[in-house]
Amino acid sequence: MLDDIDRRLLRYLQDDPEQPLSALAEGARIPQATAARRLEKLRSQGILKATRAVIDWRALGYAVEVSLRITLEKSPRAFEDFLTQARTIPEVIEIQTFLGRVDARLSVIARDMAHYQELYRDQILTLPHIADIEALMQVAEVSRREGLPL
């Protein structure tokens, strides 16, 4: 099980996942070798699943981001078929499924509104088992704190 040292280590790591091991160990107030060993254990236990780069799509020319809230038809294969095909659209950067008023959400990025319209018509509306779609246009990211309140 996780102890206080593991939690402290993850807390410091999530604040700055790119810091060198020496800085991390110093922050968490443990020897570097201990930090390395514990990180390895957290990885092998699947608690630390991945460290992923954050890519700013706007800086790469994708000025439009739309959150599509989707209600699916009530059929046994609806989720599976929908998800399988949604994964093939490169401009879909996040896929989530929910328990609630909506069944799924796709984050879609596009270069501009014309590109978005094309994606929406040709790729999104043709996804299987969609009963209803609502679009929320991203205006600004107000705050983002990926970490957990450990």
């Binding site: 996942p17 991945a50 460290t51 490169p90 328990l99 704190r145």
Partner: protein, 153 residues
């Protein structure tokens, strides 16, 4: 200004940003100094904005993630800045996006369980100034995709 090697580098970093420049360089067929220069360039261009951890939230005691759609009750007179500052300060709030459409804000919240979520919702979110309609959807699954990197090369 972005070439195929930059794209390859971004793809590798999207998979695993914890590796050092030597390993990254090997993955894209570049020397360590050349890789380091490219990373520096991608950061300076604002394309590479750090890294984030993907944790097993349940194993860490956070069993429930909820997305809220929030509509502000009184338009115009409510200070958006005050609302944004107040909601962003709640420790369980992981993400706040200002959106256009059915809701004004989309908020991601992590909680220990449904009871904990209810406490956060009632005591912290519903008491914020200007909050109107709130819709909650409990997250069942989530995938972060590589995105259109393949289209850029």
């Amino acid at each position: 200004m972005i070439d195929a090697i930059d794209i390859a580098l971004l793809k590798v970093l999207h998979q695993d940003a914890s590796q050092g420049t030597a390993d990254l360089g090997r993955a894209v067929g570049m020397s360590q100094p050349a890789t380091w220069r490219r990373l520096k360039k991608l950061r300076a261009a604002g394309i590479l904005k750090g890294a984030r951890l993907e944790l097993d939230e349940k194993a860490l005691g956070f069993g429930v993630t909820v997305f809220l759609g929030i509509k502000l009750a009184t338009r115009g007179r409510v200070s958006l800045e005050d609302f944004e500052r107040a909601i962003s300060a709640i420790p369980e709030v992981q993400r706040v996006d200002h959106v256009l459409g059915l809701y004004d804000y989309r908020v991601r919240i992590t909680a220990r369980d449904i009871a904990d979520f209810e406490r956060i919702l009632r005591r912290r979110i519903m008491t914020l100034p200007g909050v109107g309609d709130i819709e909650s959807n409990v997250l069942l699954s989530e995938e972060v995709r590589e995105g259109p990197l393949g289209n850029l090369a």
